[in-house]
Symmetry: C2
Subunit: 101 residues, 2 copies
């Protein structure tokens, strides 16, 4: 059974109702550097990974499980992800998101 | 001088040449949970913030400075960002990215 390669980009963020001390610290640091107009700083996790699955539906369901079980804490975090089918050659190469700006 | 509100989404990732122990730990944890096909796990930061500026060019240049000076360590990290002009009403409300999946 041939399996398809996928690249996932996962964004894990604190639920809006949850206090974000790291975000508050960065915000006050930025104000201290003179960036007074900055507000609503929220810090989250950005995870890139590759996986193989027989089709998109299976890949999505695996990724949901991966997020629920390990990448995000459902009690305080939300997650969303983007999933792209990639060629085996892409799977070997560097992820475009990691290439310099 | 009227100022425009902006919402920024910043992605900070380790340069590809830099080892990612956190990513390796997550990868082995996922293998331990039975997700053997997962590979190339890389963990980064996802930062959301709002700022005001007189125009897009100024907002982008401020965000570059903010990334270079505080959000990313240029020696080992890359960053990229998305910047959207928002209405004052949006600026008050919850960021769409933070709303549950």
């Amino acid at each position: 059974m041939a399996r398809q390669d996928y690249r996932a980009r996962v964004y894990v963020t604190l639920r809006p109702s949850v206090l974000d001390p790291a975000g508050a610290a960065v915000e006050s640091g930025l104000h201290g550097l003179g960036y007074d107009s900055v507000s609503s700083v929220r810090i989250g996790k950005y995870v890139e990974l590759q996986l193989q699955a027989k089709d998109d539906v299976t890949a999505r369901s695996q990724l949901d499980q991966i997020c629920d079980r390990l990448l995000a804490n459902p009690a305080i975090e939300n997650y969303r992800f983007e999933l792209d089918a990639i060629t085996p050659a892409d799977a070997e190469g560097e992820s475009p998101a990691l290439s310099p700006r």
